[in-house]
Symmetry: D2
Subunit: 358 residues, 4 copies
């Protein structure tokens, strides 16, 4: 299990430059699902060299009409099985509701296609494990669409943590709230928390030991507000606040370390990340009640971030992994780690907040 | 048990106008503790009619010198017992560390003095109950210093909820984080959460059924970051995020209701409270997967708030309660309710987050 | 000369519903210029019923390739004269640099085409007058693209002022600064100020009596920072701060009135407009030095704004005007009023800030 | 004429350490005026070593009662002449309306007292010159209370400009607006602009060549909104926007340079100053219309600022200048430079905005 991207991204140019021998080999994609996120997948795939979109498929006639209007040249299908069995197609992007991921992914893998699966990977751990095994046997690639870890902000955070700028890590506290969009098949944890959990998985390079999730249902029988505490090794604590019923949109993460502290506000146009030279020092020579606490407050620094579209990065990377046979760091195993946390959250939520070991 | 203030505050003028018969009776205060908060108590008491500060007491000679410099005319004492036993003194303000509250309060009550006690009331439920019983037997008043419920913002929130402006309540989500000030005897929950818990107690007019608290210690053996989920009746959920290790100061509360939603940002100079005409409506005629969700988004409104100093309000109200024999709504019972939640939080924290019934 | 829109917009549906007799008549557009703004014109025209884009024209081969890539079905031309003389074309959108507007517009009108001209209308007053006369003789419509007056924010401001909510108007103070985009043929006043001047013209329904403009050139021989004060009747004063060299983007307008005051921050996602119940009252009974000044501070209110794209609104309105023969309020005369202010600004700037009467 | 502070402040310790010979000599102050700003002068003088407040004087009995309540030990006077002629007093702080400054200052100097005068120094240039001459003849010190140049923010800005961090300076653009406080004897320019003008004088170390001022009167016959453009050598332009009728308080200054750009928001609790690594570069090899413009956007940096109270710094510095005979950089000449700009602004305002050379 590798949490590292091994510098793979560092060398990512916007367009892949494969070796001459491979120049001829175009990757042909089928895209299943053209709802909220599918159009972004299609638009970005179109801009990548050596990629061809063989077909886009959606059960809804409205969605199919939309594909045709936006991309008159793309072939449109109704039945996903057609995509899965087409000998023309090398890789399938599965951009459908979570509960359909397993069956679609399984069919794709069985038919020898690499898969790019929308987050969260599957509805449960068992499904994820089965898909990973299947892909391994078939020598196929799985990439789970954890788009956020391809943003300039998250990559900068990982870099700063990796370089030790913040010192020993204390906590990671994320608030991700807004009004809607209500999902019909999954609660707010399965909808919004995969972003935070995949970022945590990526930047901390560790798995949590245990978690506690609390929340409440108000409208459609699914939790619309929830809070997850994750206990990591070495006293690192993470907290995720997700809410579909907030009047204001908030996307703020505080990261506290021994040496420095960081605030990531993803809604800022510029200055998304601010690094504070602030800290607390304890001097316990005098015993507990005489403990000397000193506070350090210095400059603030906001690093310039790469502006490129994260999804373009990610899909280019997927094509590169297929082409050169390397394994993506956001592979099925990464998808499984997130699903395991989500499953544990559900278990904890059912008990209104119990400690669940992972 | 009454959560209501019964309009007592509505009629609060900055200065009490007691009946002629009582005009002559000045309330003589002793103030024990002149550290961080004590100077505010002294300054505000001085501005209230019919109040006289008979003595200020502190064990620290530095603190005593500070009293003398700021208020050369005030009598300064070293030993709290002197205050407690002085026949000159009618009421004592106890503004010392939490672990000293019980002994000081007990001595004051036994000597026939009304008490104004810094929050949190006591170190545990048993102490609070003993003090309440003692005060009742002695026919003395206890007021616990839940200052925030006397601010213009909290009083406006209570009013809006009471009037039903937000409709059925969904959640209350507070973030109260900053750098320091580390306490030596209590963790961040006992230090910062009493503000949120006393506000919840005041505006919801209900007690939680259960709670879950998670957190972590990084520096001095006491939790410096913690998260509390409180389950109230009727699916109302509250969450409190407290943190001594944040690089930025945040004092933001989201309150979601069926009809409207409210954001209270206490750091805004103006526009502390914003009421959003936003909401979600479900139409389930078509069954779960066809559930129609509609979002409503209208005007935003920020009510003008009263600017007066909360502590002045609170102390004036205390003097009024002593003078006319009425019971303050932030009495010992209110203090006990907060201590009960804090004690439950400690219990839950020790198990790294277990559901604790109240 | 009419500053009013006479409710024309109020009845604007996203799609025009002309009388049955006209149903068959499609308006055929030629678009000249496919640089920064042209693509938005093309995209929006495509969504309007009874509109057909007959051709898009640009001198640059890069631009022409871009048209073809985005809209493979649209006919692309190199020479603007071809558009102007085509018998197929009813109306021309001129989306080219300012110094080319006059010649292109003249040719279009002479060939019997209605014109939609990018702001500012022309390079000087004389040109604008000539085009207005020509259009009148030919019975053709001119619309000048003052897009901002079709935004939800500006229409709401006009409505609030019109209803008298702010009381007697005192001032209008706009800041419109950012980094770049430097223009090669016009200075920052001709680039950015047309937005503010056309908004002023629209919401105040008055022309200024005189203006003073100051500024400075630092890089390419054209002013990159400038300040314009406009004196309107009845002591109304307006100020416009435009700057291409600001590290931060600001789009904020303060509008002060006797009864209320308004802040419009166009960079806010929500709450673009805030109306403050604030004011100053003078009581001069006692003579100048005893003047009693009282300040009023009440609630703040942020009205919900229409979210539709302004340019869609504007182009739909242009088609409606062509179809039913009505005159747009943002006609050649409106364009001329803005050019007159710009010309006066240039005159004032050359003298480093002299009062120029209009 | 020296704009430099010659490092005098760098060595300022909170408390002066005079040479042994002078240790015994306490500076005795009289304070004339105890309105809005006087209490701050008194409070800060009290904290400075070797300073004694001999008397505070105010014509208003309400003000005198306030002195007595806050400082029972300080001697209170009614008649300013008493202060001016008292042999006990070494230095006088004149904290009264502008129109009274000249007479009071003259009387103080004639009686051999050093003077600390509230900004603006005098009502006109002639008065300022007369006072400077008088002080020179009498070998007395004049300090004009330009408090802002003693703040951590302004001192940091001066340092950064001095070090050349921003490169060649382009512009300085300040907005200083709020609701009230209306002055009865001076307009908004004389009330608010002295802050900006004294900061400009201090950080640019240059005097403007000319200025243009525009504005409008709405309420009490004095301008309540005004805009000043100042032309400095080398194409540096400054702009000051002052307004008593704004619903929101703004204290923001943009400073643009060739290499970097700076934003100073004085209302931010932290991060008052942000330095942006942004810029524009022109490459004119290709001729005007082919001018290549490139934009640079890098990190942002917010330096930590000194938190000490500016007025304490300033008064300590005044005492030091009296004690060691050195000349303060904010002396009568500095005060005169500001008054000269104010006088020119008035002249320009009367013509509704004319270029006035200085």
């Amino acid at each position: 299990m590798s949490f590292h991207d091994n510098g793979a991204l560092a060398s990512l140019a916007p367009r892949v430059s494969p070796s001459p021998a491979r120049m001829s080999s175009t990757i042909k994609f089928g895209v299943v699902g053209y709802g909220y996120w599918g159009p972004n997948i299609v638009r970005n795939l179109q801009g990548i060299e050596n990629v061809e979109i063989a077909a886009v498929c959606d059960k809804s006639s409205t969605a199919r009409r939309r594909v045709h209007k936006n991309h008159p040249q793309i072939y449109v299908m109704t039945d996903a099985s057609e995509v899965m069995t087409s000998p023309e197609i090398d890789a399938v992007a599965i951009v459908t509701p979570v509960w359909t991921h397993f069956e679609l992914a399984k069919q794709a893998l069985e038919n020898g296609k690499h898969i790019f699966v929308e987050k969260p990977f599957t509805s449960n751990v068992r499904q994820a494990e089965e898909l990973i095994n299947l892909a391994q046997r078939k020598n196929l690639k799985i990439m789970v669409d954890h788009t956020f870890v391809f943003t300039g902000a998250v990559r900068k955070i990982k870099q700063l943590l990796h370089e030790g700028l913040l010192g020993k890590l204390y906590y990671y506290d994320s608030t991700r709230v807004n009004l809607g969009l209500f999902q019909h098949d999954i609660n707010v944890v399965w909808d919004l928390a995969p972003h935070d959990l995949s970022i945590l998985d990526y930047v901390l390079e560790q798995s949590p030991e245990a978690l506690v999730a609390t929340g409440q249902k108000h409208l459609n029988g699914l939790e619309d507000i929830a809070f997850i505490t994750l206990y990591f090794p070495d006293s690192v604590i993470a907290h995720v606040n997700v809410n579909w019923l907030s009047p204001v949109k908030v996307r703020t993460t505080l990261i506290g370390g021994e040496k420095k502290m960081l605030v990531w506000n993803d809604l800022e146009a510029d200055e998304k990340i601010k690094v504070y030279d602030k800290g607390v020092e304890m001097d316990s020579r005098e015993g507990l009640y005489e403990l000397l606490v000193s506070y350090r407050s210095g400059d603030m620094w906001s690093p310039h971030l790469e502006q490129a579209e994260a999804l373009r990065h990610e899909l280019t990377y997927f094509v590169k992994c297929i082409t050169d046979g390397s394994n993506p760091f956001n592979d099925g195993a990464a998808g499984l780690r997130i699903v395991r946390m989500l499953e544990a959250s559900t278990k904890s939520l059912r008990k209104r907040g119990a400690l669940v070991y992972l």
